[in-house]
């Protein structure tokens, strides 16, 4: 569904992505992991078209995304740090996004809004919100349009355990619908029961892209964190 081939990106002298190629298929739930500064967020941003790669290309359903923008209607994106216009309220942000994405027949998936209890905070201005509440807004926006692909950048960072569980339940639910889900996180334990694939990145390079079961077999570890660690030691 999403194919990246030889994607490279430099920010001035710093290489953030180096010849990254990957192939993501519908129904997969991919964990994008790696240390800080390994290029996970940049990779996600290139997939979303927010960062334009210096070389290489990315296709979405067989179409190059460079001159296309409509493909983004199939993606729900939850950024690592959600930044929103300060003097809009939660309600205004939600309704603006609904308005802009011009979603006709389909109904909106507002499950998370109620689950997080945002429906009673609709009149709060974005600038008054805590980091966690902002994360909740970001999560709601990502799921709102029932997209085929979900890209979640550190979804549980900053969320309290309860909300974190609520979000994971939601992700699980969506996974069952056969959606492509891509999650970055460095809290590896969270992902154990969710994911089917693992992509490991380091210093802008894609180190491996493996099925979780293969990975477990190879390393003999059940826990994802341990499995990764043992791979790293081997190398």
């Amino acid at each position: 569904m999403i194919i990246a081939s030889n994607v490279s990106k430099k920010f001035k002298k710093l290489t953030v992505l180096e010849n990254v190629s990957l192939n993501c298929i519908k129904g997969e739930c991919i964990a994008l992991i790696g240390p800080n500064g390994s290029g996970k967020t940049t990779l996600i941003k290139t997939i979303l078209g927010m960062v334009v790669p210096d070389s290489g290309f990315i296709t979405f359903n067989g179409r190059n995304i460079l001159h296309d923008w409509k493909y983004r209607s199939h993606i729900g994106y939850m950024p690592q740090i959600g930044r929103y216009p300060d003097n809009m309220t939660i309600g205004q942000v939600l309704s603006m996004m609904k308005d802009i994405r011009a979603h006709k027949e389909k109904t909106f998936d507002e499950e998370l809004i109620y689950a997080f209890g945002l429906n009673i905070l609709l009149n709060k201005r974005m600038r008054t919100l805590s980091g966690g509440t902002r994360q909740k807004v970001s999560a709601c926006l990502a799921f709102l349009f029932d997209p085929e692909v979900l890209i979640l950048d550190e979804p549980t960072a900053g969320l309290d355990p309860l909300s974190s569980e609520l979000l994971k339940d939601k992700i699980r639910k969506e996974k069952q619908k056969g959606k492509l889900i891509m999650i970055t996180s460095h809290i590896l334990s969270e992902l154990d029961d969710l994911i089917t694939q693992v992509i490991y990145m380091q210093e802008g390079k894609l180190v491996f892209h493996k099925n979780i079961d293969d990975l477990r077999k190879e390393t003999g570890e059940q826990k994802l964190s341990k499995a990764i660690a043992s791979v790293m030691i081997k190398k």
Binding site: M50, V52, W69, P79, Y84, N87, M97
Partner: protein
């Protein structure tokens, strides 16, 4: 795209600065026309406001606004929207709000007190200058990542267009006094939208002086229908070119 323009305008209006700017213009224009006993002198005072204040407020407000909308832009860019549309909507929202502020603040007094051809040309030039400097601001804000630096560059650009450029022209005029510079001067004005606007206003305001030898060359060019049309076209280029360059940069910009 219209939807985004709508959100931008609503946001700008919520931001009290444009309202304050409108009120400021209105207060100044009304007091000018009420204090001066003849309207031509009132228009003259208003000319200085149009040539100095309008570009200054337009460029600085727009630059700051673009920087402050970075979250908004980031949010929109991840959505199924064309980047060009997002950027042009931001520009359109700014241009519309600034033009609207100018129309209310200076346009109403002009129509009430000085509804002459001079008044209308002034109104038109004020509008175009508002938009030109919004466009220039868009370019400087997209080219420079750092907010403080970007605002500094915008102030410098304003200083350049309203003072330094003219100083340079005056210097050239006296350095090359012995050469026939009139025609070149007409071409040089094309490089400064403030000068271009000022000359188009002068041709109405000081028509008698512009008929004299000194002004004849400018009248011969700008005074004719074609000349006026070309001048207007150049003004529109001053809107279009920075806007187009900024779209191009924004299209390739990493957020």
């Amino acid at each position: 795209m219209i939807k985004i323009v709508k959100y931008v305008i609503v946001d700008i209006l919520r931001n009290k600065i444009v309202i304050a700017y409108t009120a400021f213009l209105l207060a100044i224009s009304l007091s000018i026309f009420n204090l001066e006993d003849n309207t031509s002198k009132g228009l003259l005072s208003l000319l200085n406001i149009i040539l100095i204040i309008i570009p200054l407020v337009s460029i600085i407000f727009s630059t700051i606004y673009v920087y402050n909308s970075s979250e908004f832009l980031e949010l929109l860019v991840s959505q199924p929207l064309k980047r060009k549309n997002i950027w042009m909507s931001l520009f359109a929202g700014l241009a519309i709000s600034l033009s609207f502020a100018f129309c209310i603040g200076a346009g109403i007094p002009i129509i009430l007190y000085a509804a002459s051809s001079t008044g209308f040309v002034m109104l038109g030039m004020g509008l175009i200058l508002s938009i030109v400097f919004a466009s220039v601001a868009m370019l400087s804000a997209v080219m420079i990542r750092d907010k403080a630096k970007g605002i500094g560059i915008s102030i410098l650009l304003w200083l350049y267009f309203s003072l330094l450029f003219d100083g340079m022209v005056l210097f050239i005029l006296f350095q090359f006094e012995d050469y026939p510079l009139e025609k070149i001067m007409v071409a040089i004005t094309a490089f400064n939208p403030i000068d271009l606007g000022r000359i188009l206003i002068l041709l109405k305001m000081d028509i008698s002086a512009m008929m004299g030898y000194t002004g004849a060359i400018f009248r011969d060019f700008f005074g004719t229908g074609t000349g006026f049309f070309i001048a207007l076209l150049v003004m529109l280029l001053w809107v279009a070119v920075p806007a187009w360059l900024s779209v191009r940069t924004f299209n390739r910009k990493d957020l």
